[in-house]
């Protein structure tokens, strides 16, 4: 069971995408690969949820997009973190840390 790719915790995908984009702007495939690499293969992302998340984040003004050429000189849509997105990432990271710590405390006490 443990070696199969896991589903993401509800609502965390947006945060992970923002985190990925915090380093540099990236196209859709790049984001998927980066997430999988960083999670060491724990997460396997479905294109459907990924692109819905892009649309959602874009409409919320947390990311914006631009068409650019890739290193292989292919045209791709790059996503860029906005100032608002950066702020949201910071606050969500803090919140996440608090929650994880709290959950860990609860689990350890028993």
């Amino acid at each position: 069971m443990a070696d199969k790719p896991s589903d993401l915790v509800q609502g965390t995908l947006d945060m992970l995408i923002l985190k990925t984009l915090a380093l540099e702007s990236m196209h859709g495939y790049g984001i998927a690969v980066r997430l999988e690499q960083m999670s060491k293969g724990v997460f396997r992302l479905n294109a459907g949820s990924l692109f819905v998340a892009f649309q959602r984040l874009q409409r919320a003004g947390l990311i914006r997009s631009e068409w650019k050429a890739t290193e292989n000189s292919r045209r791709a849509k790059y996503y860029v973190l906005t100032e608002q997105g950066r702020k949201r990432l910071n606050s969500e990271t803090r919140e996440w840390g608090r929650q994880v710590a709290a959950i860990a405390r609860i689990l350890e006490t028993s």
């Binding site: 196209h27 859709g28 495939y29 790049g30 998927a32 690969v33 396997r44 992302l45 479905n46 294109a47 459907g48 692109f51 819905v52 649309q55 959602r56 874009q58 409409r59 919320a60 003004g61 890739t70 292989n72 292919r74 045209r75 791709a76 849509k77």
Partner: protein, 894 residues
């Protein structure tokens, strides 16, 4: 910000759909290519790589759908598709659409009209400051009496002693005469304390309003403020009027201002012509009892509740004050119970507001029932169409349309129908209101009903449109999922009689419809019977061939001697007219809108009767009154010309008053007073038969008559008993009055029979009977359309079966009987159910009916019989059609 961006993004997807789709395609393609490239670097063939990506990441076509349907715009898009599809379907069958729209328009139109009236009468707040905290304060003089206005003296006490209202004001409603340069009008006016305007936050449209304290003391400020409409139509909006002197009830007063346009006055339904300071009350007659008499009930109190207090809390607080006052003034205030009622719930009078609310509720329910019947009709039509469209729906389901999607489509269609019907209905309802606005319930008074299509009416109509659309579409929509796809397609639309589920539904809808319309019809029948009973009630006088002419010489500033001379001459001329049998004068007309009344004290009984003295109405009349009205004098004598201001004060009492004040004794020669327990007294010289005095529905009440010669009134009504139709004498008598004084206005010039159609007469019975009748007719027609539709539809479904029967030897008579039997069961079941329901419902009408029980057997037998007969007639045509089926053709058809 992000909401705006989301809307912008959605709009972009909606309106630049191609570009957005293309972009998404391109993006996903590049995603696919990049992923495949990765795999190919590891040595896979391109084909295998693409397959692997699809396995890992999901099908990209599906991804596109998911992304596309994730935004809100996809909902709008489907809705738009559904709407276009629904509109196309409705256009395709214009006769179905026309019938459904017309049905809904009738139902919604009737609802709009009734609601607009309720809105105008009850729901719309006064356009004043703090309208939500505005209360009416009224007093019940005993536990059994309805709440009535206070006396001005009591108002002052409550104003001083209460701690629950931010402010208290009020008004005394009166008829007055306002004249300028030889022309006088009879007007409706309010006498108000100076804080009336400030408390209600009113502004002048012109000039100024009274300043605080101005005119509150008796006779201190001879000024007047005009109502906007009166200023417009009487003075043409002349701005120079401000500062000018006019004649108000014979007193010279200065016009200081005009009140703002939006404010029509504090009394629901009457457009007030003028406002005078409360200190001017009675200035024309020289009487100042208004300011001190605690037994009066002329002052309608308005109060602004302090924030965070409720009407109940205010009521309890005021009743503590009331107990204090009862100790202080036991003669007049004993037993008073104060009521604090939100202004909107106390219209037009706190005493009758309960029945106004009841009438409104009853009619809203009846009209709601009519709408329900209309909805069922449309539901049945939709069901029939759903059956015809079964194949189409099955195909759509097979193509992948989900159940919810199909239900949504079906509801979109019925709501669209309801919206079109609602638009037509709103126009119809508005038209009905305009027509109703022409109806004048009381004489010449400036009645304002003011139907306007405000947001309340609009949201009500929108709500019932939505409800009607959902109601009508629900039955066919809910049937969607139950349709077994494969079977429908295989059957090829052929439905045998075995489809009992749908028959059950359609039949019960028709039964419910018949039951609903029977309830409405029964209510209509009861109101009609009630009107007939009210009209045949013994009024105690002869209403036929009687003409009334109202005159007030005070409008031209006549003093008492001049007015009395005028009336003597008028009476002489009236009696001499050809066609006039007799003529008399009186202060008030029975069942009209003003009358006298007060408490009476029988001489020597004041200490014997505990608590309050009993109340009685009275009228001041000339000697010929009883002859002209044909009211029999049972004992003693009528007034004569010998009873003058110089002789003994006399009175004639009615039977009821004689019986109640002097039970078992001869009333002639007894004395009573209408002023105080210690007199002055008047002597009873005669007993008149009981009659109706104030309202048609009243029980025999105490009443007495005083001679005009001993009780001067400047407002008088000339009444003429005629030998010709009374209307024919109107121009003749008007010419006579004009000859005597060309500037003197006459009012309420009409026959007694017409006068009896006023607000206290038959008006409400007629309106109720007319409304209920229209609703009943509407319900009946709609129910018949429903029965006809269902019977002819099932007839057409059974064509095949009937063909088989006829081929096997059934004759047309058998077939006719077969169809009719089914129809009879339907109609009788509907009538039976309606009858049972109505028996439970009509008792709520009992307080609105006169002389008719709410279980009136005649109505409860004849109306259902009518419904059954008419229902069967509606079945006749389809049943006849069924007998004409040609067996060969019917069998071929399959």
């Amino acid at each position: 910000m992000s909401l705006l961006r989301s809307i912008a993004g959605g709009l972009r997807s909606l309106f630049r759909k191609e570009q957005v789709t293309q972009e998404l395609d391109e993006e996903l393609n590049s995603f696919l290519e990049m992923a495949a490239e990765e795999k190919m670097k590891q040595g896979m063939s391109r084909k295998d790589a693409l397959r692997a990506v699809r396995l890992e990441r999901g099908n990209l076509e599906v991804t596109k759908e998911i992304v596309r349907s994730a935004g809100w715009e996809s909902f709008v898009e489907t809705l738009w598709q559904d709407l276009r599809f629904a509109a196309r379907m409705l256009r395709k069958s214009p006769s179905f659409t026309a019938v459904a729209v017309l049905t809904l328009a009738l139902g919604i139109g009737a609802n709009t009209a009734i609601f607009s009236m309720a809105n105008a009468f009850l729901f719309r707040p006064l356009p004043v400051k703090n309208a939500d905290r505005l209360m009416v304060v009224a007093a019940r003089t005993s536990r059994y009496d309805p709440p009535i206005p206070l006396s001005y003296a009591a108002f002052l006490d409550y104003q001083r002693q209460n701690n629950v209202f931010a402010e208290m004001t009020g008004y005394a409603l009166d008829l007055g005469g306002l004249g300028t340069q030889g022309h006088a009008d009879r007007i409706v006016m309010c006498y108000v304390p100076s804080n009336f305007f400030t408390m209600l936050g009113l502004r002048p449209a012109l000039g100024r309003l009274p300043v605080p304290g101005e005119g509150d003391a008796p006779r201190s400020a001879p000024v007047v403020v005009l109502g906007y409409s009166y200023w417009q139509h009487r003075f043409g909006g002349d701005q120079r009027l401000i500062g000018q002197s006019v004649n108000l009830n014979g007193q010279a007063v200065t016009v200081i201002g005009v009140v703002e346009k939006g404010f029509k006055g504090p009394y629901a339904t009457v457009d007030i012509d003028a406002y005078a300071p409360v200190g001017m009350y009675g200035a024309g007659t020289g009487s100042t009892t208004f300011f001190t008499a605690r037994e009066d009930s002329d002052f309608r109190v308005l109060a602004t509740l302090k924030t965070a207090l409720t009407a109940q809390q205010a009521e309890s607080a005021l009743n503590i004050v009331a107990q204090r006052l009862a100790q202080q003034y036991p003669q007049t205030d004993q037993g008073h119970i104060i009521r604090v009622i939100p202004e909107g719930l106390a219209r037009p009078e706190p005493a009758v507001s309960d029945s106004v609310a009841l009438v409104t509720t009853v009619f809203l329910l009846l009209v709601g029932l009519v709408l329900l019947v209309a909805c069922v009709n449309v539901a049945n039509l939709l069901l029939a169409r759903a059956a015809a469209r079964e194949k189409e729906i099955a195909v759509r389901a097979a193509m992948g349309a989900g159940r919810l999607r199909l239900i949504r489509q079906s509801l979109t269609e019925s709501i669209l129908l309801a919206a079109v019907g609602g638009a037509a209905g709103a126009v119809m309802g508005n038209w009905a209101c305009r027509t109703l606005e022409q109806v004048r319930p009381i004489g010449d008074l400036p009645i304002r009903i003011g139907f306007t299509f405000d947001w309340r009416v609009f949201s009500y109509v929108a709500t019932i449109v939505l409800a009607a659309g959902i109601l009508a579409g629900l039955a066919p929509a809910l049937r969607m999922p139950r349709t077994n796809l494969i079977e429908r397609l295989r059957e090829g639309g052929r439905t045998l009689i075995g489809d009992s589920g749908r028959h059950w539904l359609r039949n019960s809808l028709v039964i419910g419809q018949l039951a609903g319309s029977l309830i409405v019809l029964l209510a209509a029948g009861l109101f009609a019977r009630s009107l007939a009973r009210a009209e045949s009630v013994d009024l105690g006088f002869d209403r036929h061939n009687l003409l009334n002419v109202g005159i007030n010489p005070g409008l031209q500033g006549y003093d008492q001697p001049r007015a009395e001379a005028f009336f003597r001459e008028l009476l002489r001329r009236a009696k001499a007219l050809p066609g006039a049998e007799s003529a008399s004068l009186a202060y008030s007309v029975p069942m009209s809108y003003y009358n006298d009344g007060g408490v009476v004290y029988a001489e020597g009984q004041a200490s014997a009767t505990k608590g309050r003295a009993p109340g009685a109405g009275f009228n001041s009349v000339s000697p010929e009154y009883f002859e002209t009205m044909r009211i029999p004098i049972l004992e003693g004598r009528a007034f004569s010309d010998e009873d003058t201001a110089k002789t003994d004060r006399v009175a004639i009492v009615n039977e009821e008053m004689a019986k109640r004040l002097w039970p078992g004794q001869d009333p002639i020669g007894r004395r009573f007073s209408s002023i105080s327990a210690s007199g002055p007294f008047v002597t009873v010289i005669g007993v008149a038969r009981n009659a109706k005095y104030n309202v048609i529905s009243e029980w025999p009440r105490m009443f007495f008559y005083l001679p005009l010669a001993q009780n001067y009134k400047q407002i008088r009504v000339l009444q003429m008993r005629t030998s010709v139709p009374p209307e024919t004498l109107i121009p003749v008598i008007e010419a006579q009055v004009r000859e005597m004084d060309p500037n003197l206005p006459m009012f309420d010039v009409m026959s007694m029979e017409k006068s009896l159609n006023g607000g206290n007469g038959f008006f409400f019975y007629k309106m109720a009977a007319a409304f209920a009748g229209i609703l009943g007719a509407l319900g009946l027609v709609l129910a018949l359309v429903g029965v006809y539709g269902v019977v002819s539809y099932t007839g057409s479904l059974r064509t095949h079966e009937i063909g088989v029967r006829m081929a096997l030897g059934a004759n047309p008579r058998n077939i006719f009987g077969l169809i009719l039997r089914q129809a009879t069961i339907l109609v009788s079941a509907g009538a039976g159910l309606g009858l049972v329901a109505a028996l439970g419902v009509t008792r709520f009408l009992s307080s609105l009916l006169v002389g008719v029980s709410s279980y009136d057997p005649a109505t409860f037998v004849s109306v259902p019989a009518l419904l059954i007969i008419v229902g069967l007639v509606a079945c006749y045509l389809p049943a006849r059609r069924a007998t004409r089926v040609d067996p060969v053709e019917a069998l071929h058809y399959e």
